[in-house]
C-alpha cells in the first residue's frame, strides 16, 4: 500500500527497481562470461544509485555511505576481480547451462510471478513509498538462486550468488531503508572475502581439472 504514489521518490525508486530486474534478465541470456560480468557491474551500479536515492529522500547520511561503499565494492572491485579471472582463464566459448535460454527465460518469468505472490504480505503491511519495488527485488533473489543451480561454470555460479546477494540488499533497502550499518559492513566484508576465495578456487579448479565446468567434479557423492 503506497500512500503517496505521485511522489517523485516512489517513481524513481520503481524505475530503478525495474532496471535492476532487467539487468538480471540480461545477465541470464548473455553467453560470454565477460558480458555477464559487465551486466553484473551495471546491476550493482543501478542498486547503488537506488541506495543513494533512498538515502537522499529518507534523509539518512549513514545510508549514503553504504551506497558509496556498495558502489566501490560491487561496481569496481568485484567486477575487476572477476574480469581478471575471466581473462586469466581465457576461454570465452558459449556457456553451457543445464537448460536452454528460452526455457530459462520462461522459468525466470515464472519466478517473478512467484515473487509477487510470496511478497504479498510484506507489500500489504509496508507504508514506505518504496514498497512497490519489493517483489522485483525478491524476484532478483530467486533468479540469482536459479542461476546458481542452473549454470555449470564456477564463475557463473559465483555471479548467481552475487545476484542473490544484490537482491537481498535491495529487499532490505526497499522494505526498511537498509539494515543497521554494522551489519551492512559485516555483510560486505563477508561477500568480498567469499568472492576472493572463490576466485582462488576457480584457478585451482582450472588448474586441476583443466576446465571450470563444475560437472567435471563428480568423485564425491554427498
Amino acid at each position: 500500500m503506497v500512500l503517496f504514489p505521485e511522489l517523485p521518490f516512489a517513481r524513481v525508486a520503481n524505475l530503478l527497481s525495474f532496471l535492476f530486474l532487467l539487468m538480471s534478465f540480461l545477465l541470464i541470456i548473455r553467453n560470454s562470461l565477460s558480458a555477464q560480468v559487465r551486466m553484473f557491474a551495471v546491476q550493482s551500479g543501478v542498486l547503488s544509485a537506488l541506495a543513494a536515492v533512498v538515502a537522499h529522500f529518507g534523509g539518512s547520511r549513514e545510508l549514503f555511505g553504504v551506497a558509496v561503499l556498495f558502489a566501490f565494492i560491487k561496481v569496481i572491485v568485484i567486477p575487476r576481480v572477476l574480469t581478471r579471472a575471466v581473462s586469466k582463464i581465457g576461454i570465452q566459448r558459449a556457456v553451457a547451462p543445464y537448460l536452454g535460454t528460452s526455457v530459462t527465460l520462461g522459468i525466470c518469468a515464472g519466478l517473478v510471478v512467484v515473487a509477487f505472490y510470496v511478497m504479498a504480505p510484506v507489500m500489504e503491511s509496508n507504508r514506505l513509498p518504496t514498497a512497490d519495488g519489493i517483489p522485483l527485488a525478491f524476484a532478483g533473489v530467486l533468479i540469482g538462486f536459479f542461476t546458481t543451480v542452473n549454470r555449470r561454470r564456477a564463475l557463473t555460479q559465483i555471479l548467481g550468488f552475487l545476484m542473490l546477494e544484490n537482491g537481498i540488499f535491495m529487499v532490505a533497502l526497499l522494505a526498511t531503508y537498509g539494515v543497521p550499518l554494522i551489519v551492512e559492513m559485516g555483510v560486505f566484508l563477508d561477500v568480498l572475502v567469499a568472492v576472493l576465495i572463490l576466485e582462488v578456487f576457480v584457478y585451482r579448479i582450472k588448474h586441476n581439472f583443466d576446465s571450470i565446468e563444475v560437472s567435471q567434479m563428480g568423485a564425491l557423492r554427498g
Binding site: 510470496v118 504480505p121 510484506v122 503491511s125 509496508n126 533473489v141 538462486f145 546458481t148 564456477a154 555460479q157 559465483i158 550468488f161 542473490l164 546477494e165 537481498i168 529487499v171 532490505a172 522494505a175 526498511t176 539494515v179 543497521p180 554494522i182 551489519v183 559485516g186 555483510v187 566484508l189 563477508d190 572475502v193 567469499a194 576465495i197 572463490l198 578456487f201 585451482r204 579448479i205 586441476n208 581439472f209 563444475v214 567434479m217 563428480g218 568423485a219 564425491l220 557423492r221 554427498g222
Partner: protein
C-alpha cells in the same frame, strides 16, 4: 568484559600465528589459546549459571543457552586443538611451514567465529559470524590441495554461502517485521523477543521459512546438507571434529533463537494451526533425514532410495571416507532428535530446555567429533605408516582416546 576476553583469545592467537615464523612458536600460541579459551569459557559459563545474562555494549550478550554453547565450542576446540599439534607434525614436515601456519591461523579464526556467533545479541552480527565460519574453514577442507579436497571445498563454499544468504533474507524480513511495529530496533535478539507478540505473524512465518532453509544448511538439515559428508571427510581430522561436534550446533543454535521469536508471535490467535504449519517443515525434514540415513545401512529398499537421492557411493567403499561419513550419520541422527524435540515443544522456554536436555542426553553422539580424530589416526597409520617416532604415535593415541571417551 569476560566475553570480550573470551573472544579476543582466539582472535589474537590467529593474528599472532599468522605473523610468527617458527613452528614451535605457532604451536605454543595455538595450544595456550585453545586451553585459555577453555578456562575463560568455563569461568564465564559458571558465572552465567549462577546469575543473570552477561552483556557488554549492545552487541555481546550471553545467557544460559549461550553458556552451554560456549562450553561445547571451547571444550571440543581445546581437545581438537591439542590433538591438532600432533596431527600437523605428522602431516606436514618443515618444508610445508606455510601450510602449518595457515592451518593454525584458520583453526583459531574458526573458533573465534563460532564463539562470536553464540555470544552476540545482534542477529545480523550472528549471520556475519556464521558466514565467517564457512570462509574460515574452506581452505582447511582443501588443505591437501588434491582433486577431491578441491571438489568438497568448492561444494561446501557455494552451497553454504547460498544457503546462508537465504538466512540473511529471513533476518531482513524479521527486521522488517520489527521495524514495522516499533521503528528502530537495531536487530538485537533481546529487543526482538520483547516485541515478538506484536509482530505480524504472516511475515514472521515467511521469515522463518528462510531462516530454516538458511541456517538449516549450516546445521546439515536435508535437502541442503549435501556439502556435509564430503567436507567432513576431506577436512583434516581435527577440523572434521570441530565441524561435526560444534559447527552444526552453531547452525542449530541460530535456528533456535529465531524459533523462540516465531513461537511467541504465533502463540496467540493462530496457536495450533500455525504451529503445525511451520513444524511441518521440521517434521518433513525429519522424515527425509531418516530415509536418507537409512541409505548406507538399508538392505532391501536401499536400491530405491539410492535412485531417489542419487547416493551412489556406499560409504564403506572408501575406508577413510567411510569412517567420517559414518560419524556424520550418527551426528545427523542427533540433529534429527533435537529438531524433533524442537518441533514438539510448545513454548520458547520449553523449547530451549527440551533441546538442551536432548543435547546432554545425546552428549556422546555430539562428541563423535572425537571419533573423527580416531578415524583420522587410523587413516594416517594405514596410509602413511609410522612416520615419526613411536612416542609421537603414542601421544596421538592418548589424545585420541581422551577424546574418544566421549564416544561411548
Amino acid at each position: 568484559m569476560m566475553l570480550l576476553l573470551l573472544l579476543s583469545i582466539p582472535a589474537m592467537a590467529s593474528g599472532l600465528i599468522s605473523l610468527s615464523r617458527k613452528r614451535r612458536v605457532m604451536e605454543w600460541i595455538h595450544a595456550s589459546a585453545s586451553v585459555g579459551a577453555l578456562i575463560v569459557g568455563g569461568v564465564l559459563a559458571v558465572g552465567i549459571r549462577d546469575g543473570a545474562p552477561v552483556s557488554s555494549w549492545d552487541i555481546l550478550r550471553a545467557d544460559a543457552l549461550s553458556a552451554f554453547m560456549i562450553m561445547i565450542v571451547a571444550f571440543v576446540g581445546a581437545v581438537a586443538g591439542i590433538y591438532a599439534i600432533g596431527y600437523t607434525r605428522l602431516e606436514f614436515d618443515d618444508g610445508h611451514i606455510a601450510r602449518v601456519r595457515l592451518f593454525y591461523a584458520l583453526f583459531q579464526l574458526f573458533v573465534f567465529t563460532m564463539l562470536l556467533a553464540v555470544t552476540t545479541d545482534n542477529l545480523g552480527v550472528m549471520w556475519v559470524a556464521i558466514e565467517g565460519t564457512t570462509l574460515a574453514t574452506v581452505f582447511l577442507v582443501n588443505i591437501h590441495d588434491n582433486h577431491t579436497g578441491l571438489e568438497a571445498a568448492y561444494k561446501y563454499l557455494i552451497i553454504s554461502s547460498v544457503g546462508i544468504a537465504l538466512a540473511f533474507m529471513g533476518t531482513v524480513l524479521m527486521y522488517y517485521a520489527a521495524t514495522a511495529q516499533v521503528g528502530e530496533i537495531g536487530l538485537s535478539w533481546t529487543s526482538l523477543i520483547g516485541i515478538a507478540a506484536r509482530l505480524d505473524p504472516k511475515i514472521v512465518k515467511l521469515a522463518f521459512v528462510f531462516i530454516l532453509i538458511g541456517y538449516g544448511t549450516k546445521a546439515g538439515l536435508a535437502p541442503m546438507h549435501t556439502w556435509l559428508p564430503d567436507a567432513h571427510s576431506e577436512a583434516p581430522a581435527p577440523i572434521s571434529a570441530l565441524m561435526s561436534g560444534v559447527l552444526l550446533n552453531v547452525g542449530l543454535y541460530a535456528l533456535m533463537r529465531f524459533k523462540a521469536v516465531t513461537d511467541i508471535t504465533h502463540a496467540g490467535l493462530f496457536e495450533r494451526r500455525a504451529h503445525r504449519d511451520h513444524s511441518a517443515w521440521i517434521g518433513l525434514r525429519w522424515v527425509l533425514g531418516y530415509a536418507w540415513r537409512a541409505v548406507p545401512y538399508g538392505e532391501s529398499r536401499a536400491g530405491q532410495i539410492h535412485a531417489l537421492f542419487a547416493f551412489r557411493q556406499h560409504p564403506a567403499q572408501v575406508p577413510h571416507h567411510g569412517d567420517s561419513r559414518r560419524a556424520w550419520f550418527d551426528e545427523s541422527g542427533a540433529m534429527d532428535r533435537i529438531c524433533l524435540s524442537l518441533r514438539n515443544s510448545r513454548s520458547a522456554g520449553f523449547a530451549a530446555i527440551r533441546s538442551v536436555h536432548q543435547r546432554v542426553h545425546h552428549f556422546p553422539r555430539q562428541f563423535c567429533g572425537a571419533f573423527c580424530c580416531l578415524c583420522g589416526d587410523r587413516y594416517r597409520s594405514a596410509h602413511l605408516g609410522f612416520r615419526g617416532n613411536a612416542r609421537k604415535r603414542e601421544s596421538h593415541v592418548v589424545w585420541a582416546s581422551i577424546g574418544g571417551t566421549g564416544v561411548r
